[in-house]
């Protein structure tokens, strides 16, 4: 239904544009005196009047109609005021399921009444939506076309609308950040209402397998994030141990030693590593790398887990090579030629120049790149979801399995997600921690890079 309405609006706007342009072009206008705007602007103006108000209205209506209907249905349900938020959610999903026709047991009379109420509201809502959209389109088209006069500044009006759209678009970035922060903080606060913040921040045990129903057998549940954070940084450290030397050395070779043809071939090939989706790396880590690492560990006599931190971290490191390589590349390229040539003039070899002149000069840029890569490693999800473990352990043995923040977020939220138990909410608290860590790393990295740029 909404799809047809969007189509109808687009068609109406198109027709209005056509009519408006035709009217703007008509002799009655051009013959008498000079018009302010060209016919196309009259048409566009009519189209904006016709389509935009209805479009905005329809979007808002679609976004909010479900929540409003739910609220009304729950509000009229007998005894709903005494229900908690989660019970209300359960109730509304039951009502919706019965309304959709999937009945598992005989619904109570209250539910049947609520379903009837829901259905009548839905019908009312869709008729109201249709009527309002039709009215908005009609009134908009009428006003838009009537506005066409010889001296009517249609171009100004169109340009103002376009400017408004552009301003709104540039706000989307802010709205997104605000949405992220608000939703994470809101759900995390809900979590801290159930689990004390001190336990979450400083607890040394992470066992989120708690009972959802009272009669289930499960652990007590512990939500201390330290071991999870530890695992995250252990995997990231392994990744950086692979990516930093490889990335910097390959950047050195490509910028300083390689000839133009080698560079033109190899650099895009390296960039492919960054373009491969992380799930592909994850599958490869499970399929090939993890068994190799395990047999390596066993052959040197270390007890190895099938999903070792080393396999996940190593593969993640490979993914980050092009990242560090291209940022170091930029940093080397930004070192002024004079410094390099001064070193050569003193008789230093190429290697000495690189180690003692270029590397120190490019260091801030390289550090910035490494920090950005670290932030990527911390936030990387699919490789660790597939290749790292689920049990939070504090171990320095890279052949053991550890878990990470992102793994826990995904495993806690996959499948069923009711927003009322600490298990689900814990994922949002972890998400907040992840957001803060990566934000901090990014800000420091950007500042480092910028400071360095000012120098030359």
């Amino acid at each position: 239904m909404a799809g047809y309405l969007f189509g109808f609006m687009a068609l109406a706007a198109f027709v209005a544009a056509f009519l408006g342009a035709a009217r703007g072009r008509s002799k009655r206008f051009a013959a008498t005196e000079k018009t302010h705007s060209r016919p196309i602007y009259h048409g566009l103006n009519a189209a904006i009047w016709t389509g935009v108000p209805a479009f905005v209205f329809l979007l808002l209506w679609l976004l909010f109609q479900n929540s409003v209907i739910d609220m009304l249905v729950i509000g009229s349900y007998p005894g709903a005021d005494s229900l908690s938020g989660s019970e209300k959610n359960l109730l509304i999903s039951e009502i919706r399921q019965v309304a959709a026709g999937s009945v598992f047991r005989e619904p109570t009379p209250e539910i049947t009444a609520a379903v009837a109420h829901l259905k009548s509201l839905q019908a009312l809502s869709s008729w109201a939506m249709l009527a309002v959209v039709a009215a908005l389109v009609a009134v908009g088209a009428f006003l838009g076309i009537r506005a066409i006069q010889t001296r009517y500044p249609a171009r100004h009006s169109v340009e103002r609308s376009v400017t408004w759209f552009m301003m709104f678009s540039s706000l989307v970035a802010i709205l997104t950040t605000a949405g992220i922060v608000l939703s994470l903080v809101y759900e995390a606060l809900q979590f801290f209402a159930r689990v004390p913040a001190t336990e979450f921040l400083f607890g040394l045990r992470w066992e989120p397998q708690i009972a959802i129903r009272a009669d289930q057998v499960a652990g007590q549940g512990a939500f201390g994030m330290i071991p999870v954070l530890f695992g995250t940084f252990a995997v990231s450290a392994l990744a950086m141990a692979v990516a930093i030397p490889t990335g910097i050395l390959s950047a050195i070779y490509l910028t300083e030693y390689a000839n133009e043809r080698f560079r033109a071939v190899v650099k895009p090939l390296l960039e492919i590593l960054a373009g491969i989706p992380t799930i592909v790396y994850g599958f490869f880590a499970v399929l090939t790398v993890a068994p190799l690492v395990r047999s390596l560990g066993l052959s040197i006599g270390i007890d190895s887990a099938p999903n070792s931190a080393l396999a996940a971290g190593g593969v993640m490191g490979i993914m980050l090579i092009p990242f560090i390589s291209s940022l170091s590349d930029d940093a080397f390229a930004a070192v002024p030629r004079a410094i390099r040539e001064g070193s050569f003039a003193l008789g230093a070899t190429k290697g000495e120049t690189i180690r003692k002149v270029l590397l120190p000069a490019a260091l801030p840029g390289i550090v910035g790149g490494v920090l950005l890569a670290l932030s990527r490693a911390v936030g990387e999800t699919m490789i660790v979801v597939m290749a790292a473990g689920l049990i939070a352990k504090m171990t320095l043995n890279p052949f053991e399995s550890v878990t990470t923040v992102t793994v826990q977020i995904v495993t806690l939220l996959i499948g069923d997600s009711e927003f009322d138990n600490p298990k689900t909410l814990a994922a949002f608290a972890l998400g907040l921690v992840l957001f803060i860590i990566t934000l901090g790393l990014n800000l420091i990295a950007l500042r480092t890079v910028r400071k360095y740029r000012e120098k030359y």
Binding site: S67, D70, R155, E159, V162, T163, F165, M166, S169, S170, V172, A173, I174, T176, G179, I180, S183, L184, P245, G247, L249, S250, Y253, L254, L269, L270, I272, L273, G275, I276, P277, I279, V280, F283, F284, V286, L287, I318, I321, S325, A348, T349, K350, G351, E352, G379, E380, T381, M382, V385, M386, V410, L413, I414, S417, G431, F435, T438, L439, N442
Partner: protein, 435 residues
């Protein structure tokens, strides 16, 4: 490590003159050039390591995945003139018996348990496949007809030589009788390995021999469509505003910092945003491509904004000035001249951004696009999977046949990525202007 700072020194220092062609100096030079060469070799080793890994990655995936592009089929011959079936109710006819009778004709007498082993060699939905073909074309029922039916996963593995028949019988999923029956069928020429069209035409299934990617591919299509429809206009509009109209003040600085920051926020956090805001607060349907596309659009937006701004600034100001000089308004100068001229770069950047979005998995998992769905979605509000989440589902499935299928799905995904990046490179080389 060779050091140079002791050589020479200040002229006032009482030091014997350096004899440059002495043995000692030659050794020193050698060490210094050696260090230089070593650094060069380390660099080459690093590059070789990275590229070698890339080769191993692609090689392994191709090697495990290419087998999934064929599927062992058995050709069976059914004589409908003898079969008893009610032609007015083809849907509910006893296709199972007809199918079993037909395949039993191909082999000799079997005991009861052998019969069971034999039937399990064919995909369990074989009778329905036959039924669907006949309902589509009832004229098949006049006389004899041949059908191609997929063999079940263990037999498919056997046909592809992946089952080690030297192992003791209880250590493999195919028993001796099945191997014997398989060889019998093979000698009759009934077993073929045609191209596995089902991989592209079927949706997901619990049985590897029937599982395909059509649901995932159409899900990804809807996702990218929604993502494009939102992020392309909004991204370009935001970029034009920031580049051409926005006053330089604190607020626009804040917007710019925000955009740079969003580009570096982990994708899983966008998933949390989608889950909490789009599903939780707005009550949009779970697993729907609409929600996934909206989340991906928010992730792609910074890329498009950054690319568009770079493209806009690269257009020479003489063009703007010429337009303004003959009386165009600022909007007209931008929308009639500068934007069209920077479109090729913007399209290139957009396609690359969409290619990234195509491979994105984590946010889609959080909004439930990893559900088991056996039909392709017909629109943006229907539950569906996407290519990367389908890979995730198959990678988690225990059946042997899914390993090859996962690799094949990855190859398909990589194929799409290569295609998109190829188009982007083509656009860049064909249309991009250097001023």
């Amino acid at each position: 490590m060779a050091t140079t700072d002791t050589i020479g020194g200040s002229p006032t220092a009482a030091r014997p003159p350096v004899v440059w062609n002495s043995e000692e100096m030659a050794k020193r030079r050698k060490a210094r050039y050696g260090a230089d060469r070593r650094l060069q070799i380390y660099g080459m080793v690093a590059i070789a390591f990275a590229l070698g890994f890339l080769a191993v990655l692609i090689g392994t995936l191709t090697f495990t995945g290419y087998r999934a592009f064929t599927q062992s089929m058995v050709t069976i011959d059914i004589d409908f003139s003898a079969a008893e079936l009610n032609r007015d109710d083809l849907m509910d006819a006893n296709w199972r018996t007809i199918f079993r009778q037909a395949v039993l004709d191909d082999v000799g007498e079997l005991s009861r348990s052998e019969e069971r082993d034999y039937f399990s060699m064919f995909t369990s939905s074989a009778p329905f496949l036959i039924r669907d073909q006949i309902i589509a074309d009832p004229s098949i029922l006049d006389g004899r007809a041949t059908f191609m039916v997929p063999m079940s996963d263990p037999i498919d593995q056997l046909a592809k030589g992946l089952v080690n028949t030297d192992l003791p019988e209880n250590q493999r999923r195919v028993n001796d009788k099945q191997v014997e029956l398989f060889n019998q069928l093979k000698e009759k020429g009934a077993v073929t390995q045609p191209f596995n069209w089902a991989l592209f035409l079927n949706a997901d299934s619990r049985f590897p021999e029937l599982a395909g990617l059509s649901g995932a591919i159409s899900g990804s299509f809807w996702l990218l469509l929604v993502c494009f429809l939102i992020s392309f206009p909004v991204g370009i509009a935001a970029a034009i505003y920031l580049e051409e109209f926005a006053p330089k003040n604190r607020f626009t600085d804040l917007i710019e910092i925000n955009i740079n920051n969003l580009a570096a926020v982990p994708s899983v956090v966008f998933g949390l945003l989608g889950l909490a805001v789009f599903l939780g607060w707005f009550g949009l349907p779970r697993s729907a491509p609409l929600v996934g596309g909206m989340v991906l659009a928010l992730m792609t937006l910074p890329t498009i904004i950054i690319v568009t701004r770079a493209a806009l600034t690269s257009v020479p100001s003489s063009i703007r000035e010429a337009a303004l000089g003959i009386g165009a308004s600022k909007h007209e100068a931008i929308f009639h001249h500068i934007l069209p001229l920077s479109m090729p770069s913007i399209m290139t950047g957009t396609i690359i951004g969409l290619a990234q979005a195509l491979g994105e998995t984590a946010p889609l998992l959080l909004i439930g696009m990893n559900a088991f769905i056996t039909s392709p979605p017909a629109g943006v509000l229907e539950a569906s999977t996407a290519l990367p989440t389908q890979i995730y589902i198959w990678a988690d499935s225990p059946e042997r046949g899914f390993v090859a299928r996962t690799s094949a799905a990855i190859l398909v995904l990589l194929g799409f990525l290569v295609l998109m990046n190829g188009i982007a490179i083509f656009l860049r080389q064909r249309f991009e202007r250097r001023w």
